[in-house]
Amino acid sequence: MEGLHHDTILEPSAKDSAKIKKESNEEEKGETHSDQADSMDFSTSTANQSLSAEDKVDLYEKMVRIRRFEERSLRSYQQGHIGGFLHLYIGQEAVAVGSVSMLGEDDHVITAYRDHGHALAVGMDFDECMAELYGKKTGCSKGKGGSMHFFAPDKNYWGGHGIVGGQTPLGLGIAFALKYNKKKGSCLCFMGDGATNQGPFYESLNLASLWNLPVVYIIENNGYSMGTAESRHSAGDPLARRGEAFDIDWSVSNGHDIYEVRQTISDALTSAHEKCRPSVLEIVTYRYRGHSVADPDQTYRSKEEIEEYKTNKDPLNLFREKLIKEGNISEDQIKTIDNRAKGDAEASAEFADASPYPDPSELMDDIYWETDNPGEKTSEGTMFFETPS
């Protein structure tokens, strides 16, 4: 079990700004390949050039809200209000927010068990998500899904899936249905680096390419499959190159730069919409917390490594600095956004706490469509063999 949680600092400080500027200067010298990639400026690329100041502030606020929601949920977990697993997305926010911000009405999203960020990015609200974590009746899945299983089909969000790589064929099927129904849409199927070693992913890549399906596989490479570093779990580098064997376009990009994420997704969406072609995008990112928060974090990586990322590559801090530099956000706005996110997160915890648990009779709801709709029942016989008395 980790020590008590401290929220990340999202206040702009002179020290942080100086640090960021220094690094950015170093990057401009192009000392290493990755530094070169880091230094590329995507703020005026095609995907970002028409963003208004308001749009940009909105993107920033979405990331802050995910961060503050999850930090609050971590406290609730430590207080014993949340059971089971809590896989936090903290550190990876720019990937979900940047990706989802590019989507149109026929674009869909599916992900794995680290799903809070994507859920909030597609527009699910704090209350239903926090209540779900608390196992309450007011949760988005009525307390039956939990942390790993958030769904909002009305927002084109198909979960939240607990088995590593298990969602990769589902994302393919969503893309299949879109194409079958002649929609110019796509399915973004998020997965972790660990999921690239599951068999169904490759079966899915083969079908995606063979059948020309508009699915975009997004490998959010946070460096660790649970506690196993990429160098210990995967042969061949980079992971996205595995798409090449199936003639699928692939790329590697930085997940701490929301502008770069948006451009990467934009290119893949064009390919999906215009040519019905899949893509494999490896977006390099980092998570600050353990695989699940109860997991020991120091057995496989150092505190220094985590601090290094927090200091130099925090996607929120980097974006905030950019917005300040661009003159698109004020100190007041930054504070207001942060306070609003913290306040809403606190309120969601209070809402969840005050909400009732599901009634025992609800254990038997939502299993079959048919038993939930007895008036339209077509079958006969007994469906359940042990029910609450």
Partner: protein
């Protein structure tokens, strides 16, 4: 009403439902150009085109999961497994995703999908190709499971399964594919799931069976009647989940003696649950302990000499029935 094979009955059901509902597609290995490994889908590619009758690579996990994803989006895919034994490489997609997505989403998402194909031993193909996983599926809340034993049931129940808004596992039998019988040609001929069928009335004993075991049990019932003057009722379960518990209890109360027969393995087989239900709900009506015949409890043997012993055959069932008298 025409006399057609079990295979043709399945073909009719699939064709009629594909014609009726644009959301229905058939996909699986060799279903289109090859006309089906067991020719169930013969002629369908020509009739409905490659968009509706879809050949897949040998990738059960991917195409099962693809179909689940498409079903979540409102399509009604029918997935053919060349053998149900092959579902084992797609277990996660069926037993986690298809079965649980509705529950885990608090009822927001339906999965109207059919997984179908043969699930039987008795064809000399060894352990990997002879599985009968109806008990696995029935053990999974969220899935429905049927085992039609006659051509009419194959048609009426497959059509019901395709129209069902929940995932349905349809377990067929290659040995029954050539069986002929009368089948209604009404395009709305439906046999509801969860309804057992008394194939033969009797008063001294009931044999309860499902799948091909139903036919062996019928032969045994006739032998008992002709040679031993025992009147035997034969109840075909047809559907495993939902289960027609009322029909089971009713026949037990009528005959007071019951023999359970299945081609599944015994441990946690379907009949283990049936036996529990009978003793729980009709204990006082039993004049003898419940008897049971299932497949011999070894991995399915290849050799005909062994497999013939393994699957419940006429004489083994007869011997067990004699213990009840």
């Amino acid at each position: 009403m025409a006399k057609i094979t079990y295979r043709e009955a399945l073909n009719q059901a699939l064709s009629e439902e594909i014609k009726r509902d644009n959301n229905v597609v058939l996909m699986g290995e060799e279903v289109a150009q090859f006309k089906g490994s067991y020719k169930v889908s013969e002629g369908m590619l020509e009739k409905f085109g490659a968009e509706r009758v879809i050949d897949t690579p040998i990738s059960e996990a991917a195409f099962s999961g693809l179909a689940v994803g498409a079903a979540m989006m409102g399509m009604r895919p029918v997935v053919e497994f060349m053998f149900w034994s092959f579902c084992y490489v797609a277990f996660d997609q069926i037993f986690n995703n298809a079965a649980s997505v509705r529950y885990m989403s608090g009822g927001l998402i339906n999965v109207p999908i059919v997984f179908r194909g043969p699930a039987n031993g008795g064809t000399n193909v060894g352990a990997t190709h002879s599985h009968t996983p109806e008990n696995f599926a029935a053990n999974t809340p969220g899935l429905k499971v049927i085992c039609p034993a006659t051509p009419a049931d194959a048609k009426g129940m497959l059509k019901a399964a395709i129209r069902d808004n929940d995932p349905v596992c349809v377990m067929e039998n290659t040995i029954l594919y050539n069986m002929q019988d009368e089948v209604p040609d009404d395009p709305d001929f439906i046999i509801p799931l969860g309804k057992a069928n008394i194939l033969k009335e009797g008063k001294d004993m009931t044999i309860i069976a499902h799948g091909k075991a139903v036919h062996t049990s019928l032969e045994v019932a006739h032998t008992l009647e002709e040679k031993h003057n025992v009147s035997v009722e034969v109840l075909d379960l047809r559907s495993i989940r939902p289960l027609d518990v009322d029909a089971i209890i009713k026949t037990v109360k009528k005959t007071n003696r019951v023999l359970l027969v299945e081609e599944n393995k015994p441990f946690c087989g379907v009949d283990a649950q049936i036996a529990f239900l009978i003793q729980d709900q009709a204990f006082d009506y039993l004049d003898a302990p419940i008897k049971r015949v299932s497949a011999i409890d070894a991995p399915q043997a290849y050799s005909k000499a062994l497999e013939n012993i393994q699957i419940p055959a006429h004489d083994r069932i007869l011997a067990k029935a004699m213990e009840l008298i």
